[in-house]
């Protein structure tokens, strides 16, 4: 019964491939340009990352054109690895990436399934394989994003079920390359260790993209953007305080780039609400309700050396 299908396929192949391809038109029509522009506009900094994405997009576009001319038949390996410190935008970029791959036609649906070790590894014998397969099936037609992928491999416990998840993952990454794209993410040094103990992974991943830390100026632009999204703004004094805050915060422990900024702003909004609640007497206008003042930021513990428990030589709380 297989023959019937094969003859159908042969007929499709028999239609002659196009003789020329207009790359510029392809670029415009595929919608890739919009995504790259959006990336440039909405993501602050991350220049090496944007550069790599542009290169990848160019490669995929050319590859697609080659396919139309009948020069290549294989799907290129698209699995990627994002390394970088926390809060450098790995998840955000992964989301854009899935969109980009969808526009280029390399994934059919373009949805992003974001998982960590808990979603893949089971709790008892025989639990891991179905669980991992379930997640892989959900991700088919889209992108599977595995955050902090190195937790899958625990060298200290040889009976750890993570190894089983890795094996299934590798198998599907190889056999179902047309169906899903896997993006691994995590800190650079621990990812390196993970790859050196799982050489199969490194060879199956074509694109390694490193996310640099943000500079102080970039962090400030990001925090301004975050506030703007929620219809808040800084007073000039608060701006200066925020810049100083960023400088202090970077030197302290558990610094997580943009995520630290988000948390700092959440707390500033809390303080602002409290300040308004306690000090306001008359009716408040929209400006008062949407202004973050210097004192809302200065009140942060960061200016006094961070969390007490993190200070060297301090008694543990």
């Amino acid at each position: 019964m297989q023959e019937a299908g094969d003859t159908l396929m042969d007929e499709e192949k028999a239609t002659a491939p196009a003789a020329t391809v207009d790359l510029a038109a392809e670029f415009r029509e595929s919608g890739v340009k919009e995504i790259l522009d959006e990336l440039d506009r909405e993501l602050v900094g991350l220049n090496p990352v944007k550069q790599r994405i542009r290169e990848t997009a160019a490669l995929l576009l050319v590859d697609r054109a080659r396919k139309q001319l009948g020069l290549s038949h294989q799907t290129p390996t698209l699995h990627m690895c994002f390394t970088g410190n926390p809060g450098t935008g790995k998840t955000t970029v992964a989301l854009r990436m899935s969109n980009l791959l969808h526009r280029l036609g390399y994934v059919r649906k373009g949805h992003l399934v974001s998982v960590t070790r808990d979603d893949l590894v089971g709790q008892y014998i025989g639990h891991t394989a179905p669980k991992t397969k379930e997640v892989l099936k959900r991700a088919m037609g889209g992108v599977l994003f595995i955050d902090e992928a190195y937790y899958l491999y625990r060298p200290d416990n040889e009976r750890d079920y993570g190894q089983e998840a890795i094996e299934i993952l590798l198998q599907v990454m190889e056999n179902n390359r047309d169906d899903l794209v896997v993006i691994l993410a995590g800190y650079a040094d621990r990812m390196d260790k993970f790859f050196s103990s799982n050489p199969g992974f490194r060879s199956r991943i074509a694109h390694h993209i490193d996310f640099p830390d943000y500079t102080d100026d970039e962090l400030f632009t990001i925090s301004e953007g975050m506030l703007g999204e929620q219809n808040y703004k800084f007073t000039p004094d608060a701006e200066a305080a925020m810049r100083e805050y960023i400088e202090h915060r970077r030197a302290q422990s558990h610094f997580a780039n943009a995520r630290s900024m988000r948390n700092a702003l959440d707390r500033a909004r809390l303080r602002q609400a409290n300040r308004l609640f306690e000090s306001a007497v008359g009716p408040l206008d929209a400006v008062a309700l949407s202004t973050i003042d210097e004192q809302d930021i200065r009140a942060s513990r960061v200016f006094r050396g961070g969390l007490d428990s993190d200070k060297p030589g301090s008694p543990k709380a």
Binding site: M1, Q2, A4, K137, M140, L180
Partner: protein
């Protein structure tokens, strides 16, 4: 004798690509795709063994084709079908069901005549394959 039942039953067997297209059509309609297998070819055998859960939250049919192939590995000499459930009436009703795998050799059915009172006769059919116990019916 080639067993025909379900949707598309008089077409040649589907290729994986065609299964993918049909399953994608079901998913795009909001139906949950599921894979089932059996070695009892009787047409009134409605409840086949389930191969995993129905795939309620898979947006792409690649998962269905993947499961069909997994099921083929384990039950290559049995009947395997793909069915699509539509939950919109308030219960799971089958909108589509097609066979994607069948035994190499299908021996067909024998006609059984049962004598009843008053010389009347009741007819039924029985598969030659079901002479043997479950699990040993097809090679």
């Amino acid at each position: 004798m080639r067993v025909t039942q379900g949707t598309f039953s008089f077409l040649p067997d589907f290729t994986d690509e065609q299964i993918h297209t049909q399953a994608q059509y079901a998913i795009d309609n909001g139906w949950a795709v599921s894979v089932e297998y059996t070695d009892d070819p009787h047409p009134r055998n409605t409840y086949w063994e389930m191969w995993g859960h129905p795939m309620f939250d898979n947006p792409d049919a690649a998962a269905a084709v993947f499961e069909v192939n997994e099921c083929r590995k384990a039950h290559h000499s049995k009947y395997i079908r793909v069915i699509a459930f539509d939950p919109s009436p308030g219960w799971e009703s089958i909108r589509m069901s097609f066979i994607v795998n069948r035994p190499k050799d299908e021996p067909g059915f024998r006609l059984i005549r049962e004598e009843k009172e008053g010389r009347s006769i009741r007819y039924t059919i029985q598969s030659y394959a079901s002479d043997r116990p479950e699990g040993q019916r097809y090679g």
